[in-house]
């Protein structure tokens, strides 16, 4: 266990360092003077020079890089055009909103995925199964931003059931979470279904029945337990979508998370903030992925010894 963690920990740090370096150079190698980029070109050269100096853009690149890493070590992402030195605190004040959105969506997606996936697998090729899978395939291409707007139109404007935006209450987050969970739900439902089907025909399930175990027990403790493993792996892969998608959802439902902050920063040409948010998103993604892998390590003993997993 420790060895696994150590290896993955090192990989995490290495990848993060790579991403930090990558974003650093992405934002510094912008054609033209970054200061000009920010304030536009019809400003006096003196103002540009002053801004350049204040943002530390006149130093050689490698020096800037070292400074940047240094700052990071101290928990600072540098100066923001909008927030000044309050960049980090502005970012992390909004961070919990984004995380709760993403986690809420995961929970909903897994819930829906398992329920519908199992239900479908119990009656393969039935009308229920086919309709469900058919609609999931069609809905698979649904643009999430459009879906969110539609949900608002139907539930809020139309039916006046749920509040649209703002607020931190549960009900205002529900629509946002559902929007975000739509695509992962579809993927997970299909995956759980096919895993369950594969497992159910697998011999050991018949053997479990032959031992006289109750149907429920076989279904949950044996079939589902095995079928969930690929779903868990897939969840790890979907985390990237969930984090990115929170940008869209925060925009539509006006949730003050770092996704919305990112969009605002783009409009404000606040490059330090964009860079910082990119790094935070990546770090979150990699970390959550690590957690998911740990989960799989726990649940599937075959991964521990490197044995061949079915």
């Amino acid at each position: 266990m420790l060895r696994f963690l150590a290896l993955r920990g090192v990989a995490f740090v290495a990848t993060m360092w790579g991403i930090i370096t990558g974003t650093f150079f992405l934002f510094r190698l912008v054609p033209g003077n970054a200061a000009v980029f920010i304030v536009g070109s019809d400003v006096t050269p003196r103002a540009i020079a002053a801004l350049t100096k204040s943002l530390g853009l006149d130093k050689p690149l490698y020096v800037q890089y070292i400074d940047y890493l240094n700052n990071l070590g101290h928990g600072s992402f540098g100066q923001s055009v909008v927030f000044g030195s309050g960049l980090a605190s502005a970012l992390f004040a909004r961070y919990p909103v984004t995380v709760s959105l993403a986690l809420g969506a995961i929970v909903i997606a897994i819930g829906i995925g398992v329920v519908f996936g199992v239900a479908s697998s119990l009656h393969p090729n039935s009308v229920f199964d086919r309709t469900l899978m058919g609609s999931l395939i069609s809905l698979g291409g649904l643009p999430n931003f459009w879906f969110g707007v539609m949900l608002i139109a139907v539930f809020s404007s139309g039916l006046h059931l749920l509040p649209i935006s703002g607020g931190s209450g549960l009900s205002s987050s529900i629509l946002a979470d559902v929007t975000l969970a739509a695509y992962p739900s579809a993927i997970l439902a299909r995956l759980v279904r096919s895993s369950m089907l594969e497992v159910s025909t697998s011999g050991f399930i018949v053997a479990c029945h032959a031992r006289g175990l109750s149907r429920i027990r076989v279904l949950v403790r044996h079939a589902l337990r095995n079928a969930m493993l690929p779903a868990l792996t897939m969840t790890g892969l979907l985390l990237g979508y969930l984090l990115g998608g929170s940008i869209v959802v925060e925009d539509i439902f006006t949730k003050q998370g770092i996704g919305l902050l990112l969009l605002q920063s783009v409009n404000a040409h606040d490059y330090s903030m964009i860079e910082a948010i990119t790094i935070v998103f990546s770090g979150s993604f990699l970390f959550l992925n690590l957690l998911a892998d740990m989960g799989i390590w726990f649940l599937d003993p075959r991964t521990r010894t490197g044995a061949q997993s079915r």
Partner: protein
């Protein structure tokens, strides 16, 4: 008899690999699939192609047939309902919705197609070279790919768009960058496995050039999965690009694009819901078709799937 341009190498080794079988070519696989009447087992593939063709036909022809200018403002008749003159009505500035939808489609599809094409072109060769040559190049590229994948897709796209002054270029470039890793991994995997076969090793020993080797022996084996990936990738690029447009970091107005149209129309939902509904439906239809095509191709090219009774 020597064929012009062909070295002894390729002639001799055309008919054997380590296990004695010819490396499958894409065409042979497709031929087999067609022979097994896979078209009838994969109705999805057919429907997908029809749907995509239909949409492409619409975006190309509709503006020509309607005669309206997509940007032609007519403040006299905003939000006109569906009529003989405006089959789908008009938007807030009196522009014909149908025309705008089609022209917007041209933009969206063109951008997605370009991004997919660029990503495939560069990703395929990067992957082939990386897998074939191995060593430091391979390691470096793999780490680079990991970095790109490590940033959530939309976040990376927004970051790239933000640093490029020209929005259109920025959108295409970001959609390309996020799509490249899939192709790199795909072709690299094929390259790595084929490179080890005696077939290729002896070809190398006899002096065949790298590019030729890759093109002749490695690429055909990857062609099937590549086509599948390109199909799915097209849909994904569209979703990304229209998403950027929706969020306001995409193509600049007044150029029509499905994503920006969907964003603009939110405030006019009560005036004319069609303005919001149509762009989304259009995007959905295209991604549905690309998914069907991708699924269909994948099943048609997978020899195992023919024995499956039910999915």
């Amino acid at each position: 008899m020597a064929v012009r341009g062909e070295s002894d190498v390729s002639r001799e080794h055309r008919h054997s690999t380590a296990d004695g079988s010819r490396p499958k070519t894409f065409w042979s696989q497709l031929f087999v699939a067609a022979r097994l009447k896979s078209r009838f087992r994969e109705p999805g593939l057919l429907w997908g192609l029809l749907l995509l063709t239909g949409v492409i036909g619409f975006v190309l022809l509709a503006p020509l047939l309607s005669g309206y200018d997509a940007n032609g403002i007519n403040l006299a008749s905003p939000f006109a309902g569906a009529s003989a003159q405006h089959l789908l009505g008009t938007d807030e500035l009196g522009r014909d919705t149908l025309t705008r939808l089609a022209v917007g489609g041209r933009t969206s599809l063109l951008l997605s197609g370009t991004a997919t094409g660029l990503a495939a072109a560069s990703g395929i060769w990067l992957g082939l070279l990386s897998g074939y040559i191995g060593g430091a190049l391979d390691l470096a590229l793999q780490r680079l790919v990991e970095l790109v994948i490590g940033v959530p897709t939309l976040v990376l796209a927004i970051a790239v768009v933000s640093v490029i002054p020209d929005r259109t270029l920025g959108v295409v470039l970001s959609a390309t960058v996020v799509a490249i890793p899939a192709y790199v991994r795909l072709t690299r995997g094929v390259a790595v496995s084929i490179v080890a076969t005696d077939y290729v090793v002896s070809a190398r020993v006899l002096g065949a050039r790298t590019a030729r080797l890759l093109r002749r022996y490695v690429l055909p084996n990857a062609l099937g999965p590549l086509l599948v990936q390109i199909s799915f990738g097209l849909g994904q690029s569209l979703l990304l690009i229209s998403g950027l447009g929706f969020l306001g970091v995409g193509i600049s107005p007044p150029q029509a694009e499905w994503g920006t149209m969907a964003s603009d129309a939110i405030q006019y939902l009560s005036n004319d819901p069609l303005l919001e509904i149509l762009p989304g439906v259009a995007i959905m239809l295209v991604t549905l078709s690309t998914n069907l095509i991708g699924d269909g191709l994948r099943d048609a090219l997978d020899p195992r799937s023919h024995s499956r009774v039910s999915r």
